[in-house]
Amino acid sequence: MDCNTHDTDVFNLVISGVGGQGVLTLAEVLSRAALSENHNVRVGEIHGMAQRGGHVVCTVRMGPDAYGPIVDAGTAHLIVGFEPVETLREVELVRPDGYIIMNQHIQHPVAVSMGKADYPPIDEIISSLRKFANHIFDFNAMSLAESAGNPQSMNMVMFGAIIGSGLVSISKETALATVAASFPGRFEEINTRAFESGYAATSVLKW
């Protein structure tokens, strides 16, 4: 007996990166924006153990059929990677018709620094990503964040890139308002600038 795959009304997004890069914050800001546009939204986070330096994944699910927070292999509409190896680590989650937005800036795992493991060449990472999805956009979000005024605003560059890609149904206005509400004081300006540069990078894409 065959079961038909019934497409459910949900958008699955996976954010993958390194602890300390602002993965959790991006998931929260994005989801707050989604909630303020009245989407049903579920976020999954994994905390615990040391807060820095380890692999971190967040899932954001939007739409009436989002019940639990887990995104299974082959079901993510969009993977947002904060770091090349960490993007590849979660690539099996993407749908064949899904999208990947990746920051090219490398953060070396300690195993690589110690010479106990190799960091795969970047072209090998991209070609491996292509085995799972055709729509891949990679850019140096880190240098955009630095230009915006703070490398720590990289997560807001990625937020801008997500909204600019047009894949998620959150308006730019709502997104910017959420950024402003999330980073009061002197960080608002830097993060808004970071958002705009990420937005500009993907809004011109034809994929």
Binding site: M1, D2, C3, N4, T5, H6, T8, V18, G19, A27, E28, S31, R32, L35, N40, V41, R42, V43, G44, E45, I46, H47, G48, M49, A50, Q51, R52, G53, G54, H55, D65, Y67, G68, P69, I70, D72, A73, G74, V85, E86, L88, R89, V91, E92, H108, P109, V110, A111, S113, M114, G115, K116, A117, D118, Y119, P120, E124, I125, S128, K131
Partner: protein
């Protein structure tokens, strides 16, 4: 984390994006809880963190980080017996610590509502085992509730308090990581007032369970559980949804996966969602089983529901096929996902999975080997220096009993200073056992929070029984791993009141430790190594426990403090002319802020990560690591 201000808002009907842990903290307000006591433990940590932020702003409210879970439950239990709604919060292994008062609390019962929130951790994202705490409900005769998402975590909590008071029993409120650490919209209800004071009414023949009292209380408890059973049959927390030939019984987070799987597969089924999972609604379950030829039971970890439901079917001679873990359709380890549930349902009803997961797995196998990125001691972590010192002195040959905290990450190369670990406080007591039966040096490590939580009895025993153990207390001035909660050594309470901190050095002396010294591990690695050497030597010669307190604040606190006060400290750099590419810094210290320049083979320091702790300076034999000028 959502700010305290947001959680404190008195705006009924407002919908806010909350972590389930934050929703539980909000529920404390809406249920009118007067007192919360806990010891932090992930995945429950944000309940305490939120309440800590909120506590000074809630009228007639008391919150504390107790020394450990047993203490927390005794504080909360006594408060509930006094007549004030109370709560204790812990993670799975934390409930084991509190198991002693837990089982007796059920006998004596309570006067105002008492809810014990226990966060289990299927897949062990941050725990040492997969504790299925639901069995405490069976063993202790305690009503048990399991919410499935953030919104239900709050609404069910309010029912739990009513039920607790109706039955005069503490309620076990069990969540799992995927509930605790998921976010969704949660609607605010009204905030309830709390009494300023309640009156303790004496009733020693109820609350002092000497054997003659306890003997009478056990039948009372069983009677209460019979009342609970009839409540379980009628509560709206146990409900069915949908219809179809197939029946599914589920609870907790698995309920979500069941709904998703049915939608994906386009299969009709009647789903029985159980919110009160002890005592089970036996009559409702039997009626459900009779309605379905096939019933699937979907629950994470142990077959808690499955075993009981199979026994109901047998007892009532119901002709039904029950599918679950016992035939291997569902695993008994790790958390579930929609994929696991979908695959099992597909197998049971005999159809293909909607996604060719085997193909995806196969393609994933063909990916290049990725360098692992496990969690690590942070750049600038004072523990890295301490462990470097311990390892240098003992040349890796001593036995290193470890404990629960960030510092357990020293298990990873190149520090490799964690050889044995059971639970909170076990570093000291396991060290005693090892020291008694081997003639090896034993250097145990324990964090400051863990020391107060469970290290004290172990140290008292070590002193009295004269165990030759070297103990290094890694005092980073906080409970770092769970998110920087205060403890008795920090000088701030759960109510954010500044108080005199307990001095670990004095505590050790008070317990009778003769050799006690305090050093700053970031002061000089050379003197750190000398101090560890002296400690180990003293223990070897005197055959008694010796303590070295290695005291420096958590790097995350140091960085935050500098940011707050606008202080900038120049970072370190490697002078490529002096560096000989010997790799000693990378191979022996492995600070995440250092990496290898693949072209020159020399070490480089990532300035954005460096916290200027300076530990690497001492490790470099060529004096190639220098600090930038201001």
């Amino acid at each position: 984390m959502v700010k305290a201000k947001v959680l404190l808002e008195d705006s009924v009907g407002k919908k806010v994006l909350l972590l389930a842990n934050e929703a539980i903290a909000r529920g404390v307000l809406e249920a009118g809880v007067r007192l919360v006591a806990l010891y932090p433990g992930t995945p429950s940590s944000e309940i305490g963190n939120s309440l800590y932020q909120m506590s000074p702003h809630i009228p007639n409210f008391y919150f504390e980080f107790s020394a450990n879970e047993k203490v927390a439950l005794e504080v909360a239990g006594a408060s509930a017996i006094s007549g004030a709604r109370s709560m204790m919060v812990c993670k799975g292994p934390g409930l084991n610590v509190a198991a002693d008062p837990l089982l007796t609390l059920a006998y004596v019962g309570i006067r105002a509502g008492l809810v014990i929130v226990v966060a289990d951790d299927p897949s062990m994202w941050s725990s040492q085992n997969e504790n299925d705490s639901r069995y405490y409900a069976l063993m202790g005769n305690l009503p048990l509730m399991e919410p499935s998402d953030p919104s239900e975590a709050k609404s069910m909590l309010l029912v739990a308090y009513d039920l607790s008071e109706q039955l005069e029993l503490p309620i076990l409120f069990r969540t799992t990581t995927r509930v605790n650490h998921s976010r969704s919209g949660v609607e605010y209800g009204p905030i309830r007032d709390r009494p300023e004071y309640v009156q303790f009414e004496k009733d020693p023949l109820r609350f002092v369970p000497v054997p003659s009292v306890a003997r009478k209380r056990h039948p009372w408890l069983l009677e209460q559980m019979e009342k609970a059973r009839s409540i379980s049959e009628s509560t709206e927390l146990n409900f069915t949804i949908g219809s179809g030939e197939l029946g599914i019984i589920t609870s907790g987070v698995s309920y979500n996966y069941v709904l998703e799987s049915l939608k994906i597969l386009g299969v009709d089924a009647e789903v029985f969602k159980i919110g009160v999972t002890n005592p089970l609604p036996e009559r409702m379950i039997c009626d459900f089983l009779r309605r379905h030829k096939k019933t699937i039971i979907v629950e994470e970890l142990e077959p808690f529901l499955e075993t009981q439901i199979r026994s109901f079917a047998q007892h009532h001679s119901i002709d039904v096929e029950i599918y679950g873990k016992q035939q291997g359709f569902f695993p008994r380890v790790y958390e579930y996902s929609p994929r696991i549930v979908t695959t099992a349902i597909s197998k049971i009803i005999g159809c293909n999975t909607p996604i060719n997961w085997d193909d995806i797995d196969e393609r994933a196998q063909s990916l290049p080997d990725l360098p692992p990125r496990p969690p690590l001691l942070c750049p600038g972590c004072p523990h890295r220096a301490s462990y470097y010192g311990i390892r240098a002195v003992t040349r890796g040959k001593a036995i290193y009993p470890s404990d629960i905290g960030c510092y357990t990450l020293s298990i990873a190369p190149p520090l490799e200073t964690a050889d044995i670990l059971f639970d909170m406080g076990s570093s000291i007591s396991t060290a005693c056992g090892i020291a008694r039966v081997t003639n090896q040096d034993v250097v145990a490590t324990i964090g400051d929070s863990t020391f107060f939580a469970s290290g004290l009895p172990g140290l008292a025993s070590a002193v009295y029984n004269q165990h030759p153990i070297a103990l290094v207390i890694l005092d980073n001035r906080t409970t770092a791993m769970t998110g920087h909660q205060p403890h008795p050594g920090t000088g701030i309470t759960g109510m954010q009141k500044h108080v005199e901190p307990l001095d670990i050095e004095k505590v050790c002396r008070g317990l009778g430790v003769e050799y006690v010294k305090t050093i700053d591990p970031l002061d000089s690695l050379t003197s750190l190594v000398a101090e560890v050497r002296e400690l180990v030597k003293w223990v070897r010669e005197n055959k008694r426990p010796g303590v070295l307190i290695s005291k420096a604040p958590c790097a995350l606190l140091t960085v935050a403090e500098r940011r707050r006060s606008g202080i900038t400290v120049p970072p370190y750099y490697v002078d490529p002319d002096l560096c000989t590419a010997c790799r000693r810094c990378l191979d022996r210290l492995a600070c995440p802020a250092m990496y290898l320049d693949s072209e020159t083979g020399k070490a480089v320091i990532d300035e954005t990560l460096c916290t200027s702790c300076g530990t690497c300076v001492y490790v470099c034999p060529h004096k190639a690591i220098l600090q930038k000028e201001e």
